[in-house]
Amino acid sequence: MNKRMVLHIIGQIVALEAALLALPLIISLIYGDGDAVCFLVTVAVALAAGGALIFFSRPKSRRIYAREGFVTVAGAWILLSAIGALPFVISGQIPSYIDAFFETVSGFTTTGASILRDVGALTHGIAFWRSFTHWSGGMGVLVLVMAIAPGADGNFIHVMRAEVPGPSVGKLVPRVRETAKILYLIYIAMTALEILLLLAGGMPLFDSVVHAFGTAGTGGFGIRPDSIAGYNAYLQWVITAFMMLFGVNFNLYYFLLTKRAGTALKSRELWVYFGIFFVSAGVITASIFPTYGSLGEAARAASFQTASIMSTTGFTTADYSLWSGTAKSILLLLMFIGACAGSTAGGIKVSRVILLFKNIRAELRKMLHPRSVTTVRFEGKSVSERMLDGVKVYLAVYILIFLIGFFILSLDRFDFETNFSAVASCFNNIGPAFGAAGPAHNYADFSVLSKLTLSACMLLGRLEIYPLLLALTPATWTRK
């Protein structure tokens, strides 16, 4: 394995984090809350660490393969979170490092699970940084490095593949670097559009920016204790729409931009994604209508919550823990499905779910007609055996890790519903769960072990399991 090159890339990423930290530093200087020092110290730490890695690694060859890609992504995300947690600790707003680490991992993985009892008490700089981790983690920090770092060549497709969610990663244009740039430009443009629409609805500038970051990354950190509930109906609808839009495969936006709307609209995943959304939102509306009394309000709350959970964002406008059993179980199912591949969202991904169902259908047909030849077709193309196997194995590993996480959490003192939903929520990068981890509560009371387990779940969920799993496999590190 080309360890030097891995360290070199991680160094570049940490150096980039220093640049990212400059933004909250500016914000805190503007607002003068007195938390600028903590950012200065962190920038210095990140620069020193990144500089040392870049300077001392001196790669002999720039050639990297799939294994270097996985290890780089795993290492970079852990180090990013470890350094990103420093401002919270230094400023004293989250005194415990474990808590701060949890909060940062939750930020970068766009989960939005918080250990803060009072979000409103945060200073502007810290609140901005917290949401900004969502934004940079959403599209992928390594993808950003690829878009701007010099010397990013064809090898970096391995890094991109390890970081971008979905069963297969294609390029939009021949070069990795251009592809990364296009993705980020679309991302930035959509975020800007959301900020404008929120401002138009009367949301203050700071709130608009922070919430747009939370939506874009499908993260869900808010700055008010009641999340989005306190804003007017228009703003809630805007956020609902954008949560869904950021859950769409970004390649489709590129097709729209290059006037290939036909190709974009042919996407089966897109239709299924919106289909699931409308059906779920409809059923939930009907189910909670009696408690709300007004159809408009019920529909707004149901749509918002469905979009929030399905796109794995995690903003809330209502305490859905108090909703009917039907509504809650639909939301729990949606947690697992997640949004489209190639978006900023988490979960198993709609395309994998479609493939699984098609696979089941093909298998059933094979049982009825043992000699029949079956192929699985998706998005107008026949899917290779290898990819189907990949999806099936992914699901198996996914369930296994989910169960392990669930068992470790059950050592803590909470009830079954809380444990189960907390793991589901963190693993799928949503944020709020049910029970004692529901919208009205937070993750502060979990034990250190539980918090570390949930942090691991969030990272595993965001990076789609394999990078971390492979980084921990001894075979990755041996010379053979």
Partner: protein, 452 residues
Amino acid sequence: MKIIIVGCGKTGKAVLSSMAQEGHDIVAVDPSPEVIDEVTNRWDVMGVCGSGADCDVLTEAQAGEADMIVCATRSDEVNMLACFFAGRMGTKHTVCRVRDLEYTEHSLGFLKRELGLSMTINPERMAAQELFNILKTPSAAKIETFARDNLELVEIPLREGSELAGRKLSELTAIYKTKVLVCAVRRGQEVVIPDGSFVLQSGDRIAITAVPAEIGRFLRKVGVVQKRAHDVMIVGGGQMAYYLAKRLLASGSSVKIIEKNENGAKDLCDALPAAVVIHGDGARRETLMEEGLEKQDALVAMGGIDEENILVSILAAGLGVPKVITKINRSYMADVADRLGLESVVTPQNIVSDALVQYARALQNSMGSNVETLYKVMDGKAEALEFNVRENPRVTGVPLKEMKLKSNILLAAIIRDRRTIIPGGDDVILPGDKVVVISAGNRLQDLADIVG
């Protein structure tokens, strides 16, 4: 430039690799997902899975905006169809591999015109031409010609005890009284453009340029035998062997071809009545000895299996056959052959990719002094380029001694009105000249690129 490459076999990959190095934006098309996976992992290119003759696939590869399409699938017909479709969709230049013997010069001209092909390539024929050139000057490991044979570039390995070992380059003209220029030297894995104080060693591989007559005289003086190969044995009777044998027979050589496959041997015998065709396994020592390998002037090992070609070549070299040429398909095997001491190694797909690189560079630079011919020399570590000079105040009309050339660039010759000038400090380049430049490690697109 945006380039689509259809068919990622041997030739496709060789073209893809050199085009990627050139910095073009490439879309690779191949029906096999495994091949697409491999290609996208190795190079920074976009992959599209499907047949090149499928319009949807070409649309996905954005043929409408492409500058060039290179079709190199197994089937000539698919290649032609893909080129035709792409051309109609808006691809500016279409390059098609056509190698079936059915398409004769005449019908090819018709097809080219009717289908609007910019260029057809036949790797076998191109490689055969290169092999023929080498056999004409057997002491050269490789030979390239510029400006309608007004200048030749010859690569020669300096064997143990060579006349030239220990000589300083600045002494050469005085000692041998010939005007040749040593323009590149490979020592180990390094290729350098040497200056006058450079001292040659045995084991070096040198590239020299001069007018063809001077090269012959020089090679004789330094004691390298210089006799045209008369009796040539070819092991492996593929299409390339056919082209080569045809040219050799036409120039009066005697040719013996050894082919394993009986039907293949019969076909060759039909097509080339003047050649001696042997049905037998050319990889077997006895067969070769029986057919009098030791008495041949040259052996060309061009069977389908690289390993066999290498072994046959080593055997022939050991028996003292004056000239041994080895055809290698996989580029890493060429490296192996080189390490084993085989001097003349020919890789057909590299000849194709060099030709296309030259074509693409000329397209990119239709305004300035564009590239007329381009050869990769010294295993692709250096390039020899011929430019058509157009007016440019940076290079034309300036005495060479006042020009600040970039490092590792050498002006090998100026060809003016069919006269070759080995340039000195007072010479100037004029519009209308052809100029040959040797470069190691620089990508030259315009003649003006040589000045720093």
